[in-house]
């Protein structure tokens, strides 16, 4: 494949995803809503991801604290460790790590699930039986990921900060009150709101990419694997691109 063809394919793919997204906004948002399936997906996507997100967030908070500590000690500002860790977790580490874990777990499962449904012609069967597959399968999942990822991020941040508190207490002693006060004294709405807003986009990106890859899966069982894999890869890359855009936009708005 020459570079031109690859570039054309890339553009084709991008266009298809854009169309798919447009279809979500045109079809998915209109009634009637599939409440039951939406809550079911929320349970699967949100609640079932919490242990994994919680574990990674806890470890991340603890490790980040212990890694930052020596350089802060070098500068003699060890007391500012909670401030630094708190800001890092709330502004960047929490949302991105949570979104990446989320992409790994949910993006792949959505891609594989929808892909196998597509391959086994279940989606076609749904169309025949009068259920709109896009509404039932895609809209519910995308909405669920979009709304669940911010919640997971907030919970993950909390667990991460607790891990950071333990991390501070490994080498020195800080009361929980002081740690809490220090973290929240440094935090402002300009730290929290952009961070939570961008997780909405992360969640949306994970959901839409997973659904698109699954929905357009081909070539039998092999295609299911490919669509699951590419869903994770693409959504992870998109998370970083959105993160980059988010930081630029907050900078432009003067919220940084």
């Amino acid at each position: 494949m020459s570079l031109v063809i690859r570039f054309k394919n890339f553009l084709d793919e991008t266009g298809n995803i854009a169309r798919f997204t447009g279809r979500f906004f045109s079809v998915g948002i209109k009634p009637r809503y599939e409440h039951k399936e939406f809550f079911n997906q929320c349970y699967i996507i949100g609640y079932r991801s919490l242990p994994l997100v919680g574990l990674t967030a806890f470890i991340m908070g603890l490790v980040l604290t212990m890694q930052l500590r020596p350089s802060l000690v070098d500068y003699g500002v060890e007391s500012q460790l909670p401030v630094m860790v708190g800001l890092a977790i709330v502004r960047e580490i929490g949302p991105v790590i949570t979104a990446l874990i989320f992409a790994g777990k949910i993006g792949s499962s959505i891609g594989a699930e929808l892909g196998s449904m597509k391959v086994t012609e279940q989606i076609d069967a749904m169309t025949v039986s009068g259920i709109k597959p896009f509404k039932y399968l895609v809209a519910t999942r995308v909405l669920a990921t979009t709304l669940m990822l911010p919640l997971l991020t907030i919970l993950g941040d909390a667990i991460s900060l607790f891990g950071a508190y333990l991390g501070v207490n490994i080498r020195s002693v800080t009361s929980f009150d002081l740690f809490f006060l220090q973290v929240f004294k440094s935090l402002d709405f300009s730290d929290v709101l952009p961070a939570i807003t961008k997780t909405l986009f992360f969640g949306f990106a994970v959901g839409i990419v997973g659904c698109y890859k699954g929905f357009n899966s081909t070539k039998g069982t092999q295609g299911v694997g490919i669509s699951a894999n590419s869903a994770v890869v693409l959504s992870s890359v998109l998370i970083f691109i959105i993160d980059l855009l988010a930081v630029q936009i907050t900078e432009l708005l003067g919220l940084n």
Binding site: C42, G46, L151, L152, I196
Partner: protein
């Protein structure tokens, strides 16, 4: 559908906990920023903010009391800072309180420090303008410090020279010399002995003086005896009379000498003849020679007479009388 319901409950708990955490965080941050607080505002005008910005903390006696709400440039040398003050703290701030721009720690954020001033005053009201105290900023301090440093450097340079000179001076050698110390010690000991002796001496003198006062001893007698004093007085009177006599005598002598000298110079009287007549002097000298010769011859005759047996007895008798006279004289002196 039991399983579905359990799942929904779990989901509800999950969503609720997330939302509660989010609202809690927002509330804490909002409280830190005084968003939900009351709208009590105080103002202060500074000439220099040193980098104070909107949202910086306001401390009252070091206690978190609010935040900087607004900063407005009024003219080229006045900046008005509007501060939002906590409801808990506002009732403690007096109208005469002083506000100053400070720094959290050495390099931290800027803060507005409101400090109370002694003395009675009313409590602040909404929108009151507090007095501003302009603090020295870091640059000024560093500038001052640089001057001080220069001064210290020059002083230390001078001090160095002085110390070097002292180090090489003789006084230090003297101080370092151990023998001097030892001799100093011994001389000090001597001084100590001396002073103790002097002490003893003064005590003795004291006794002596006391004795004299009481009239003991010769000196005492001498000083205290009134009879002696009377005699002394008489003696002095007599001495005075004698001196008066002596005076008159010397006057007379003087007169006599004058007369004599007058006679001498005028060539009158026998003395003049005696002194001035050279012929007579020759004669006299001649006569004297003859006399000497005559006495020599007489001497020889007398010696011859002594040895003559007729006169020997008489001369012996003379000698014996002379010896007895001497012995008596000796006896008299010994008895005295």
């Amino acid at each position: 559908m039991g399983n579905q319901k359990v799942n929904n409950i779990k989901l509800g708990a999950f969503v609720l906990s997330g939302l509660v955490l989010m609202i809690f965080a927002f509330f804490i941050i909002g409280r830190n920023n005084n968003i939900f607080g009351n709208d009590f505002k105080l103002k202060v005008r500074f000439s220099n903010l040193n980098g104070l910005t909107k949202g910086n903390n306001v401390l009252f006696s070091g206690l978190q009391a609010g935040t900087v709400k607004e900063i407005e440039l009024i003219n080229d040398s006045t900046i008005e800072v509007t501060m939002q003050i906590n409801s808990k703290v506002k009732s403690f701030i007096n109208k005469n309180a002083v506000a100053a721009v400070g720094t959290e720690g050495l390099m931290g954020n800027k803060v507005v420090n409101i400090s109370p001033v002694k003395g009675m005053s009313q409590k602040v009201a909404e929108g009151d303008l507090l007095q501003a105290k302009n603090m020295a900023n870091m640059d000024e301090i560093i500038e001052k410090l640089a001057q001080t440093n220069n001064n210290v450097a020059s002083i230390s340079e001078v001090l160095k020279g002085t110390v070097l000179r002292i180090d090489s001076s003789a006084i230090l050698k003297l101080i370092n010399d151990e023998s001097i110390g030892i001799s100093l010690k011994s001389s000090l000991e001597n001084i100590y002995k001396m002073t103790s002796n002097a002490n003893k001496m003064t005590i003795g003198l004291n006794h002596l003086v006391n004795d004299i006062k009481k009239g003991k001893g010769t000196a005492g007698l001498l000083l205290t005896d009134t009879l002696v004093a009377g005699t002394l007085k008489d003696a002095v009177v007599q001495i005075r009379a004698a001196s008066v006599n002596a005076n008159s005598m010397t006057l007379q002598l003087n007169k006599m000498v004058k007369d004599l000298s007058h006679d001498l110079s005028n060539g009158k009287g026998p003395i003049n003849t005696l002194l001035k007549d050279s012929l007579m002097a020759k004669n006299i000298s001649f006569t004297m020679e003859n006399l000497q010769k005559g006495t020599d011859g007489f001497n020889q005759n007398m010696e011859a007479l002594k040895h003559n047996f007729l006169f020997r007895g008489y001369f012996r008798k003379l000698e014996r009388q002379k010896k007895e006279q001497q012995a008596e004289l000796l006896k008299a002196t010994q008895q005295r």
